[in-house]
Amino acid sequence: MRALTWHDKHDVRVDTVDDPEILNPRDAIIKITSTAICGSDLHLYDGYIPTMQAGDILGHEFMGEVVETGPKSTLQKGQRVVVPFTIACGSCYHCGKHQYSACDNGNPADNQDIGQEMYGQPMSGLFGYSHLTGGYAGGQAEYVRVPFSDVGPIVVPDGLEDDEVLFLSDILPTGWQAAENADIEPGDTVAVWGCGPVGLFAVQSAFLMGAHRVIAIDHFPHRLELAKKFGAETINFEQSKTYEALMEMTGGIGPDAVIDAVGLEAHGFFVDNVIDQIKASLFLGTDRTHSIRQAIHACRKGGRVSMPAVYGGFVDKFPLGAFMEKGLTLKTGQTSVQHYMPALLHAIVEGKIDTTFLISHRMSLEDAPKGYKMFHDNQNEVTKIVLKPGFAVAAQ
């Protein structure tokens, strides 16, 4: 089959590799019909995530048709399914509590050593996201092997297009969980750093959860426009001072809840951020963290901090004093996608959540390397690229 493979920083290629096979009883093989490039794929593209190996197949947002099933799979050939990016067994203690991203068993035993050493306990497996998360082949390919197919994939009802439901795989549940982690109360003002897909879904979700006002922060005009469409007020941090603007817009109180949907590739020439970039290039620290610092600084006393943004390692200059003195609460984590999928699918069917607005480009899987470069170089206009293995290759 054809598959998008990682080779090095800024070097991804479409290669011909072996087709996947059923290996365990609960497996299924999915023929991919749509797969998206995620903002967090750019972290891999930029070489920020350790434990990548040349030839790794990327992609953790995908859906398709069931073409083969293991004896214990509950799926049937021909069904259309969206696959959650978290690989969870459904039978361990954490899955029982719906903490699917903390599944004990989704990550192969040998790979769990890395997470155990880095984080104290290993996390679940993820598709196409380094060997830290299992080393599973991703879905930016013609076919993919899906473990625990009786727990993860959700069957798509007839009449829904791929583009309407594809984002159930990651970014919609991630944006929803981000808003849920902000413990929004009626009348709240919620500030969201980053108007990428997760930030934009967090904006929509926050309103659905009863936020009175949502303030979206970014520097890409087109992305701020999209946030505005969903009713958010905006701050362009290249034109306005974020902290001062937030304080004035909230009558000197600060936002009740803050959501960092930016993470380790924060843009902007702030002093601490530039220092972080220098350190990252010298391997002195892996994570660049301006947005979370600013969010903590701006958050009102006793407020809530939600951090869907991806961080991998250690940070310094974390404002622990402000965090303690103001009595803030922080909630974060990889998304427990399986927990949110059914309700969010229902919300899509009911028309309560719009997903297709996000897609700016559709292209063939063969054009994926071009897509990565476009997404990396032009984040204003490129909001979401969906790869379709069946699509014709664009003319050069």
Binding site: D18, P20, L23, P108, A109, Q116, G125, G134, G135, V144
Partner: protein, 191 residues
């Protein structure tokens, strides 16, 4: 002599005397290195005990154990992978058994790698069962052998942790997770 005053298991002790008492607690212990690993498995105690008690099941989750032949109710013959494509073999004797609770074993005289250990099963309420493996062993060919073993990822402390994870996976999910996507890749992983 310093004896720890805390409640931490002797396998986690920094004190040599405390570790020695941990080794002594393994019945008929052989060897002077001690490993302890616990894992919580979301299955009933009796079910886990029964699977483990049939030693011929052990190669299904112990990566470096190639084969276990049952010789009698208390004796078995083990063939275990060693570095550089070698295998080591020994007879194991069950020295203590409490149904549903514990199994202790020791290697017979003249074992290639003298070893002994115990596996214990304790109820953990709604979380299932806490399984604790305590292994006392002599590393092959002393310190150099241990370094070589580590390079080949056959270092017993790492191996024990991984084997317990695989046991948990098999008991909780009915299969052992693999990131391979072809049978060929999986066979190479196991080799």
């Amino acid at each position: 002599m310093t004896i720890a005053t805390d409640d931490a298991p002797s396998t986690t002790s920094k004190l040599n005397e405390e570790r020695a008492s941990g080794i002594a607690a393994v019945s008929q212990s052989r060897g002077d290195d001690l490993i302890g690993r616990s894992v919580t498995i979301n299955r009933p105690r009796d079910e886990l005990f029964a699977y483990w008690r049939d030693f011929s099941n052990l190669p299904s989750f112990m990566d470096n154990v190639e084969q276990v032949d049952i010789l009698s109710n208390t004796t078995s013959h083990w063939v275990v992978k060693a570095p550089a494509g070698r295998t080591v073999e020994w007879d194991a004797i069950i020295t203590e058994e409490k149904a549903g609770e514990l199994i202790a074993w020791t290697s017979a005289e003249n074992a290639d790698v003298p070893n002994s250990g115990r596996i214990e099963f304790r109820d953990a309420g709604a979380r299932g069962t806490i399984v604790t493996a305590t292994i006392a062993y002599d590393p092959p060919a002393g310190v150099v052998g241990k370094v070589i073993a580590k390079l080949f990822q056959r270092e017993p402390a790492i191996q024990a942790r991984r084997d317990l994870r695989r046991f948990k996976q098999l008991m909780e999910t009915g299969e052992i997770a693999t990131a391979a996507w072809t049978q060929k890749q999986r066979d190479e992983e196991k080799a």
